[in-house]
Amino acid sequence: MRNLPPSLRLRLTGAVMMPLAALVLLFGIITAWVTHDTEADTVDRVLVGSVRTLSLVYNSRSPERESLLPLAVHLLQRRARPVVHYSVYRGKELLAGDAALPPPRDYGETWNGVIDPHPPATFVNAYRANPTVRGYLNPADARQVTQAAYLRDGILHGKPARIATEIRRPAGETGLIVIQIADYIDDRRAYEHQFMIRVLMVGLAVLVVTGLLFWWAIRWGLRPLIDLTSQVETAQQDASPAFRLESSGSDPTEIRPFVDAFNGLMTRLERASNSLRQFTSNASHQMRTPLAVARVHLDVLERYGPHSPQGQAALTDIPHAIDSLELLLRQMIALARSEDQGDMQMRPVDLAALAATVTADRAAQAPATLDIAYDNRMDGPVMALGQAALAGELLGNLLDNAIRYNRPDGAVAVSVWLDDQEAVVEIDDNGPGIPPDQRDKVWERFYRITGRTSAPGTGLGLPIARALADRLGAEIELRDGRTGQGLCVLIRFRRAPA
């Protein structure tokens, strides 16, 4: 059973059928017990009633007695449940009936006057409230009874039997007689078994029909799932991230959360897929121009030769094109990597020291005509939360922009300070700046500022910076340059807890 794939139908059917089977079993057991009890009760009543009937015969004197006895026996034997086995003993003398039904062992010739040493048989009479005295309606009938009818188990002809016994003094005599009527337990049992088998059959039939009904009911109940499944299967043939599960109004409430969650996932998948597609198309687009440059200039080299002026121009233009391609490739990889990775550990970083290092490094490589300055307004460490390597890359990236897109005699000022909540690095330049209406768009990949499409760069620098800032939990703000021209970039980091 463990190797079968789990089946919802089996689960549900089992969940319902097993308690049901248990109930049916319980019901069967109760029925069997009730049957047995009722049957035993019935037989006992018959026995006791019959023994009293016979006993009453001896309440009359002879010779009525002699004619009443066969009549009573005759009547008893003609019933639907005939009484066949009876005996009447006086002492050891059999007066009537079957000798094989001897008196009980504790029956003696002389009676020591105890009335009812065995408790008489009693029955629950719910509907009839007739008062009886020791089993007899007429108390006079009971006066001569020393032992009212009681029931015992005994053996008759070697088989177990139920025996009703009554002991009385016959009218006009002094001795005691014992009247007994017996019924084989086997007979009773056979009756019970028949009844129980019928009940069992009904129970089984109920279980089987219920099981089948339930099985089909489940299939009907699970139909919305089948419909959803077929939707997905159809979609598989033409898989597209635009696929959504359609939920109709008749979908059960239990499925809606699943459908909604699935559609939400597909939406995110579609967005990611679109973003990737756009990125790939943009990237391939960006690469085509440097490739075209290289190809054209190679043709020029071929036609004019390397020593012609055109050839010489080609020999400088081709390496530039290759450089552009390389830069583009590197930046695309950087962008992909900066967006890709999961959470990372944020640690306290001294922004002041970091900014100082980065500035010094870039200043050394920048043209000497540029005026690059660094200022830490706090006169001490400026602790922010982040990661040193990434933060350094971010600052370097933005500082590179300030230097590269600047005039030859321009100026770049780097400042660091602490706020209430934030640690801030500011990079201020007086280059061409970014027009305010384009300050939102520059974060888009491959966006070039209008009029500056042929400036060096790939259009990926700021998107990479933004991705780095997002990972560091930092924000970048673009403002007008503090000198009135150029650009002022503010990078706000989270302050490290003290």
């Binding site: 055109q310 121009a313 233009d317 042929s454």
Partner: protein
């Protein structure tokens, strides 16, 4: 033949000009759509090469506007966008041909030549007058089956004259088709080239006649 190249990437433009000049074209460069709209009609360009990725406006809009005002010059579009929809859009909006970057410069030239032939109604790439044969594709000239050694400008002049045999072409027109903006042209330059051509075409080639005050003409046959 004079071409207008509208392309904002300097390096690419430089390379393309060098390549096209080697193929015998005179090329002017413009870097914005505005400029292209202003100047496309000013000179007798035999074809315009239009890059779609211009800094100030979409090349397709330049194309539409040129066609809308009746410009009949063949236009070939150059662009890094290479999806089929882009091609269809370019051609539907009036381009005569479409080349995606990166392209092979030789292919570009051939396509330009094909467009020019079609627009001038000369389907045969070979120009013939008598035993003088000008193969426009390979830029070679044969007289009596012998190849003539002609310089670039001489080829250009001969090609223009042979394009309209028996018709007078004004001097200014001839100049405009052979020199681009940046060529420093002395007033006599054209005469010098025509003179050289005449010499090389003798004795069995067609004569080039000067019609004073009007221009030049090559005899039809």
């Amino acid at each position: 033949m004079r071409l207008l190249l509208v392309e904002d990437d300097e390096r690419l433009a430089r390379g393309m000009v060098a390549s096209l000049e080697a193929a015998g074209f005179a090329v002017d460069i413009l870097t914005t759509g505005e400029d292209a709209l202003k100047l496309a009609d000013q000179e007798p360009y035999c074809a315009i090469i239009l890059d779609l990725g211009l800094p100030d406006m979409d090349g397709l809009d330049v194309l539409s506007q040129l066609r809308a005002r009746g410009a009949a010059t063949p236009i070939i579009i150059l662009t890094a966008r290479d999806m089929m929809d882009d091609r269809i859009q370019g051609l539907d909006r009036g381009a005569d041909d479409y080349m995606a970057k990166p392209f092979h410069p030789r292919e570009l030239e051939s396509r330009i030549r094909a467009l020019v032939r079609r627009s001038q109604g000369q389907l045969d790439p070979m120009l013939r007058i008598g035993t003088l044969m000008f193969d426009r594709s390979s830029r070679t000239v044969y007289l009596d089956d012998k190849m003539l050694d002609l310089r670039r400008r001489e080829l250009a002049v001969l090609e223009t004259l042979m394009g309209r045999p028996g018709k007078v072409i004004a001097k200014e027109r001839l100049s405009a088709e052979i020199f681009n903006f940046d060529d420093a042209v002395t007033p006599n330059a054209l005469e010098v080239y025509v003179g050289r051509l005449r010499r090389k075409l003798q004795p069995s080639g067609p004569a080039i006649r000067t019609v004073r005050g009007l221009g030049y003409m090559i005899e039809a046959a």
